[in-house]
Subunit: 455 residues, 2 copies
């Protein structure tokens, strides 16, 4: 890979640092501005405060905006606090509107208001508009810096307009065509524009089958759509197709990463994925809630087993298979859960129908239940030389796997129907629910067939 | 959303179907070719075989290639089997090389050879070259249909070259600049080209700090890079920077989806995520391997509890807390695992250092262990009115949480060091390992302090 790795970054940093301590501003700017803003950001983030404050004086707000755009929006607040407020407001104004809004969403309301009050009117207006949109909707990830061209322009005029707008626009590779009312009526790729003759009309070369998203649409659905249709940018429209902004593919990649990370964390039972620089305390705090919930669910499980204390007193050996049965129930439930959550996320379940999925899961549970049940019966029989014990453990496993598989698939489907994010029905939750089912089945059967077990 | 949803697709299909049964080829082509290839693919896939064979005769190989590019490469083999071989070879030849290669990778070798033998020489040659690259490397996802321009061309010449190449290239928005030896020396965005004056030299307007990837680089790292740097295309180079191909952002979105799905499945203990149209048998077969492994690990856990049978006989109540302690160990281990696997995937752990992460995880385990331990001691004491029992369960939980957290973080790190994909150390595996630790700790402590428990 030829982008800057750790050691190259250090090498660059040495040159940059030397320029800084010798206060050679030109030297610093030459070295720093030559590298990709992502690498600038990585170098910037590694610096101590006194060096950072030197950098603020050496870079224009516009240059600093490039750096800030490449830092995770959750991490930048301290940097903005260090800057003098007028400079900070300048940096925010120079950033892509969508990135500036992401950052301002992390600040408290008073601070946002004070930044907006010292910013130039135009930028402040654009930012204010976007601040209204709810998180994770099209509105919150779109940018208003796009190029739109008019239906009645010629190719040549559009090209001239494009050359002028190119430096400020997020992307110029998709051109959105609007009518008099600024309503979206068509789309044209730069590729099409380049191939077209100069005197043709835009309305003749554009495609009027333009795909757009609504401003309140969910970001995950938009990501899905962009991936399916291989778009580089999607227009966002409001009432009566009024063109409000565009969403570009680079922002969608961040959405995909965020959503994937989110689903993954929830499956593992972490409310919010740890950040690499979290302390042990922060990290413990994020994981503790699930552990406490599990603790009480575990107590409930314990009380259920407690109700079978008599059975357990008579046949103490029953206890040794508790982790086996509960573990298999938990796992098969998590498998079914994962399939259902992914199926909902990709829209495949909507297409196939919920009942079809549930029937399939029931049969999957049955097949695996029979297979594992027979295997366990044999293993326990051979090991403990007790056929009825083997049969009990085997039959319980079979019944448990069927119930657990159906539960694993059904719970996220029900949550989805109730408009709750199905990924919240995370792994540990399903696992514990299935622990309870499995123990009821296992001890229930043991109690019913007690006379066979204590012969 | 304005792309075709289920009902719109059906509406379109009705018109298309009517044209087909009346054998109105022009009508069919007008309706079908007007919609996005993704929607064409969705409609095509839903048809019965006899209708599909009609479609093959109505569409040119080039038009069918667009349809096939929008179907998952794992699903297309039956369609190619239905086509007459010469038509099928034509379709493959007209597809993007990278997509054709993805499909051919699913076929058996003889069939690939027979398709290549009836294909035009040029396409066959391009495909053969790409078939050599290992799966999940840059080589396997790159395309050879890119536009390269020469160092010494003028902007005007480059623009003319571009207009000619545009219809066939995957993307024209990044232009890669090569020298006499076809080695990569620079990059230029179409945006820069459009703004530049016609008589300037490419070598003066290009950037020579071009980021490239090696042909054997891993696709996950490339996806990471594309996301960090917000590129739309990356050049792939071989020996001495020889330009071999490019990777475009739409393929990278598919890689991101694939990798996320992969990590998610592994955390849930599914070897390969179910496909929505899988039968219960296929689906059961995919999940069974993990269940059987867990079954034997569970037997091992059972044998460990069996060794404490004496303890269990004397204090049967111990059994009721087994699911609680094992469940919490499993969950805390999965949390630590998920954080470590994500950290490895995003490269953050390489940056922070493994030992730092392990120390943090140990402290995280200690904090949560103390918190949960105290809580459990109190709850059990209040519930069972037995202080020593409460203390035993509480202390075991504490020790278990510490060990399980460290194990959850350490196992993927060790696997990564051994060059095994850390995501293989999936949730159920860690859970079962931690079951064993937790039971050893719990019963070990119970046996040691037996005299306090049976007062």
């Amino acid at each position: 890979m030829e982008y800057l790795d750790e050691s190259e970054r250090e090498e660059h940093w040495e040159k940059i640092h030397e320029a800084l301590i010798n206060e050679q501003i030109d030297q610093f700017r030459a070295e720093f501005l030559e590298i990709h803003p992502y690498d600038q950001a990585k170098i910037f983030e590694e610096q101590p405060e006194e060096i950072r404050s030197l950098i603020y004086t050496y870079l224009s707000p516009e240059e600093m905006a490039d750096v800030m755009e490449n830092i995770d929006s959750e991490d930048v607040e301290p940097f903005f606090n260090e800057m003098n407020p007028r400079y900070a407001a300048g940096v925010l104004a120079e950033m892509s509107t969508d990135d500036a809004v992401d950052i301002l969403n992390e600040f408290d309301k008073n601070k946002v208001a004070s930044f907006l009050s010292i910013m130039d009117k135009e930028s402040a207006g654009e930012i204010k508009e976007l601040l209204h949109y709810e998180e994770k909707t099209a509105g919150s990830i779109m940018t208003t810096e796009f190029v739109s061209i008019h239906l009645n322009q010629t190719v040549k005029e559009a090209m001239r307009h494009l050359r002028k707008e190119a430096p400020d626009a997020e992307t110029i590779y998709y051109l959105f065509v609007v009518d008099e009312q600024k309503c979206l009526v068509g789309v044209l790729s730069l590729r099409d524009l380049i191939i077209a003759e100069g005197d043709w009309l835009i309305s003749d070369v554009m495609s009027d089958r333009v795909v757009s998203v609504g401003v309140t649409d969910d970001q995950e659905e938009i990501a899905q759509m962009m991936r399916d249709y291989d778009f580089l940018a999607l227009p966002v429209v409001g009432f009566q197709n009024y063109l409000l902004g565009i969403i570009t593919v680079d922002d969608i990649m961040d959405v995909m990463e965020e959503e994937a990370s989110d689903d993954y964390s929830k499956l593992a039972g972490i409310s919010d994925m740890d950040r690499p620089d979290d302390t042990a305390f922060t990290s413990a705090k994020k994981r503790l809630p699930w552990l406490v919930i599990l603790l009480f669910l575990g107590m409930f499980t314990a009380s259920i087993i407690g109700r079978f204390e008599e059975t357990l007193d008579q046949v103490a050996i029953l206890a040794i298979f508790i982790p086996l049965i509960a573990g298999m129930a938990g796992n098969t439930g998590t498998q079914a859960l994962a399939v259902a959550v992914r199926g909902i996320a990709t829209g495949e379940i909507a297409k196939q129908g919920k009942s079809k999925i549930l029937v399939r899961e029931a049969f999957t549970g049955l097949i695996n239940g029979i297979a594992c049940g027979i295997l366990i019966t044999i293993v326990v029989y051979v090991w403990k030389e007790d056929f009825y014990l083997g049969l009990l453990v085997g039959l319980s496993t079979m019944a448990t796997l069927i119930v657990a598989t159906i539960a694993g698939a059904m719970i996220p489907l029900i949550m989805h129907r109730l408009n709750i994010d199905p990924a919240v029905a995370s792994g540990p939750f399903i696992t514990t629910i299935n622990d309870i089912f499995s123990i009821l089945i296992y001890f229930g059967m043991a109690t019913a067939f007690m006379n066979l077990l204590i012969q």
